[in-house]
C-alpha cells in the first residue's frame, strides 16, 4: 500500500511493499491521493504538472519503489528461546500509581527471586536456545536493585555457563535509580549492555505519581543518582525512560527537561492504566499528536544546533533496520521471549506475569504449555487483521501482544489508541529521516 502524508509544508510518500520513503511536492502528493481514491480537488493542476507527476510515479513503479506488492506470509518461527525477563524482585521501594505490576507485587505477595531460581532460569534459557549465539536477560522488578546480590551472582553464573557453550549474554536492567550507588553503578557499567532508568521528567510530574511508600516524591534522589551514573557510563548504552499520563500531555517539556539535564538517550511512553485520572483516552489523541510534532521540531532544532539527543520512538531505520522476517514476526513474547517470576513460574512476558491463565510452566521442570506457546508462536503481523490496511504495519508489527490482550481480550486485536500514537510517531520519525538527509545534502 501507499501512504501519502504531510508534515507542515513537506510532503512524503511511504510505500509499504518496498519500505521506501520519498519526498514530493504538493502537486504530486495531491495527484497520488487522487490515484489512491481519496476525495481531493485537483482542478488547479495543469496538464504539464500532471504529466510530470505521472512520469515520476511510473518510474518509481518500474524501480519497485511504489505500489510494490507486499509480502503476505510470515516466516516459520523457530522454537529457540533467546531472551528472558527475570523478575528478580517482586517488591519495590516506590509506590507508583500507574504501575502495571501492582506497585511491584504483581497481585501476589512481595518476594525476591532466590539465586537458585535465577540459576535455573539461566539454565532453562541456555538449554532451549538451540543454535542462537546471542542471548539476553533483562533484570526486572519491582525494583531489581533491591535484590542486587542475586543480580550480581546470576550475571557471573550466566557468563560462565554461556562461555562453556560458545554463547554470549547481553544483560539489561530496569531501575528507578534509588539504589544506584557507586558499587552498583560500577558493576552495571562493566557487565550490562543496556540500563533503563525510570524518570518521568519534570520534578512535579515525576513526584505526582512516583512516590515512596511514605508518600514522598522520589525525584530528587533518583535524578542525582542517575546523573552520576550516566556521567560514568561513558559511551555504553542506557535509556532514561519516562511515562506520560493524562496529567502531562505536554510531555515534550519532560523530554526536553531530561535532555537539558544531560540525558542524551530518552524514551517517553504513554501510560498503560485503567486509572481514570491518568489513562490516555481517545479525545486526547489530537493533543498528543500536536505534542509529538512539537517534540519533533525541538528535536530537529537541537540536532541542527549540535545539541541533539536520541529519542527512542523517533528511531526508524528504513535503510539498515530490521529485516522483513523480523518485522512481520511480532514481539516474540511467549515463544522466543519469556518472563520468569520469583518462584520460577514462566509467563509469555512480564505483562502477563501472575495471570494464572498465562502460566506456561516452571524453570524447575516439566514442559511448557504448548497451547499457550502455539497461540503466541502463530501470532504475527498477518494474524492481526486490523493491521492489513495500516501503513505502519511493517514498522510496528501489530504492537504489544499484552496491550492488545489487556484492552481487547485478544493478542491479535490491536488497541486503537496505541495505534493512533504509533502512526503519528512513525510519520514524525520519517520526517526526521528526511530532514537529516536534507541537512547532509546541505539543503537544510
Amino acid at each position: 500500500m501507499v501512504h501519502v502524508f504531510s508534515y507542515k509544508d513537506k510532503h512524503y510518500i511511504y510505500d509499504t511493499g518496498s519500505s521506501s520513503l520519498h519526498e514530493c511536492d504538493g502537486t504530486a502528493a495531491l495527484l497520488l491521493r487522487e490515484k489512491l481514491g481519496e476525495p481531493v480537488d485537483t482542478s488547479a493542476v495543469t496538464p504539464a504538472e500532471r504529466r510530470a507527476c505521472e512520469e515520476d510515479f511510473a518510474e518509481l513503479e518500474r524501480a519497485g519503489l511504489l505500489f510494490k506488492e507486499e509480502v503476505k506470509e510470515g516466516p516459520a518461527k523457530s522454537g529457540e528461546v533467546k531472551a528472558l525477563c527475570l523478575h528478580i524482585c517482586h517488591d519495590c521501594n516506590l509506590r507508583c500509581r500507574y504501575c502495571f505490576a501492582d506497585e511491584g507485587a504483581y497481585h501476589a505477595r512481595r518476594e525476591f527471586m532466590s539465586l537458585e531460581t535465577a540459576k535455573k532460569a539461566i539454565d532453562f534459557l541456555i538449554e532451549n536456545s538451540g543454535g542462537r549465539k546471542v542471548l539476553e536477560t533483562d533484570f526486572f522488578g519491582g525494583e531489581p536493585l533491591m535484590n542486587f546480590g542475586v543480580v550480581k551472582e546470576t550475571v557471573l553464573y550466566a557468563k560462565e555457563k554461556a562461555a562453556a557453550r560458545g554463547k554470549k549474554f547481553l544483560f539489561t536492567l530496569t531501575t528507578n535509580g534509588l539504589l544506584l550507588k557507586d558499587d552498583v553503578a560500577e558493576f552495571l557499567n562493566a557487565e550490562f549492555e543496556n540500563v533503563v532508568l525510570s524518570l518521568d521528567g519534570r520534578k512535579e510530574v515525576h513526584d505526582a505519581v512516583r512516590k515512596t511508600p511514605n508518600g514522598k516524591g522520589s525525584f530528587d534522589l533518583a535524578i542525582e543518582n542517575m546523573k552520576k551514573f550516566v556521567r560514568i557510563r561513558g559511551d555504553k548504552k542506557y535509556y532514561v525512560r519516562g511515562t506520560f499520563t493524562a496529567k502531562n500531555l505536554d510531555f515534550s517539556e519532560d523530554v526536553l527537561f531530561l535532555a537539558d539535564n544531560g540525558f542524551d538517550s530518552i524514551s517517553m511512553e504513554p501510560v498503560v492504566t485503567d486509572l481514570a485520572d491518568l489513562a490516555i483516552t481517545e479525545d486526547m489523541l489530537p493533543r498528543i499528536g500536536q505534542e509529538y510534532d512539537r517534540l519533533c521540531d525541538a528535536f530537529l532544532a537541537r540536532e541542527a544546533a549540535g545539541r541533539g539527543f536520541n529519542f527512542f520512538h523517533f528511531n526508524v531505520d528504513l535503510e539498515g533496520g530490521p529485516c522483513l522476517a523480523k518485522r512481520v514476526s511480532a514481539c516474540g513474547a511467549g515463544n522466543e521471549y519469556f518472563s520468569v517470576v520469583p518462584n520460577g513460574d514462566i509467563y509469555p512476558c512480564h505483562q502477563f506475569a501472575g495471570d494464572p491463565a498465562f502460566r506456561m510452566g516452571s524453570v524447575y521442570g516439566g514442559t511448557l504449555d504448548e497451547g499457550i506457546r502455539a497461540k503466541f508462536r502463530d501470532s504475527c503481523l498477518f494474524t492481526r487483521k486490523k493491521c492489513e490496511n495500516c501503513f505502519a504495519k511493517f514498522i510496528c508489527s501489530g504492537g504489544c501482544s499484552a496491550n492488545n490482550y489487556h484492552y481487547n481480550g485478544d493478542i491479535d486485536e490491536p488497541y486503537a489508541i496505541t495505534c493512533a500514537m504509533m502512526k503519528k510517531r512513525v510519520e514524525d520519525a520519517m520526517h526526521i529521516l528526511a530532514e537529516r538527509k536534507r541537512r547532509e545534502a546541505g539543503e537544510g
Partner: protein, 54 residues
C-alpha cells in the same frame, strides 16, 4: 525524476531472518516498543564484533 525524490530504501542484505537480533521487548520501554525502532544487530555486530559477540 521531476517532482519526487527518494529519501530512503532498504539496503540489500545477504542474510535475513537469522534471529540473532535482540527481542523487541528488551530495548527501552517494555510497554510500547516496536520492531521498527530497532536495528539489524547482525550488521551492528559485524561492524563491531567485540561489542556484542561473534
Amino acid at each position: 525524476m521531476n517532482k519526487i525524490k527518494t529519501i530512503a530504501r532498504p539496503a540489500a542484505r545477504k542474510v535475513t531472518g537469522c534471529g540473532e537480533c535482540r527481542s523487541t521487548c528488551q530495548s527501552a520501554c517494555k510497554t510500547s516498543c516496536t520492531v521498527g525502532n530497532q536495528s539489524c544487530e547482525r550488521i551492528t555486530r559485524e561492524a563491531d564484533p567485540e561489542k556484542i559477540g561473534k
